[in-house]
């Protein structure tokens, strides 16, 4: 089971999907494109646990984190 975690005003919203299910994978890819298109940054974690920003949908990523565009505070 793979998960897309989207930070939002509720803390986060998690979308779980089966990466072997073609339809679920397409839906996850559409969500990825919609979020990154809206300015969200997508990050995954490598085997060493270090975060890495990803600009294209990775169907093998177990967890992808999305956070809104950063601005000066």
């Amino acid at each position: 089971m793979s998960t897309q975690i989207v930070m939002d005003h509720n803390g986060d919203t998690r979308h779980n999907f089966d990466a072997k299910d073609t339809e679920a994978l397409l839906k996850a890819e559409r969500r990825f494109k919609a979020l990154t298109g809206a300015g969200f940054t997508a990050a995954t974690r490598g085997a060493d646990g270090e975060p890495a920003v990803t600009r294209t949908f990775d169907p093998t990523a177990e967890v992808t984190l999305f956070f809104p565009r950063l601005v000066g505070g």
Partner: protein
Amino acid sequence: MKLLRIADDQSGRLLAACSRWARAFHDWYQRPGTRELRGRKLLREWLSSEQLAQYDAHNYFEVTGCHTGTRYRIHHGMGTNVYELDDAGRPRAGWCFVPKDYLVAGDVMLAQKVALETDERGALAVANNFTPR
């Protein structure tokens, strides 16, 4: 005299009860909400074991900027909470950058961590700096 002692005793008990009630109300009011707890849980899932130990002990954790190797200290908070450290580990500059949407503290800190560890220059380019106190 006896009446005075009884009145004094009763007012003491009333004061103690009020104090307990006030403390209970304070604890209830200050409790982290569900959203806040969810944000903290997510942050903890993404911190390294070293960062997690630091956060539990000090309410902050440190990250290394991916471009310059500079150390930054991210304090628990939702803004003006990122400090650039000098070689001695003392704050030498403050940086303020946050997600544009309203997020709870755990989410803000996680976004700051990921940004500094993966796109340090990009994060600082949008940040405002301030002098550490």
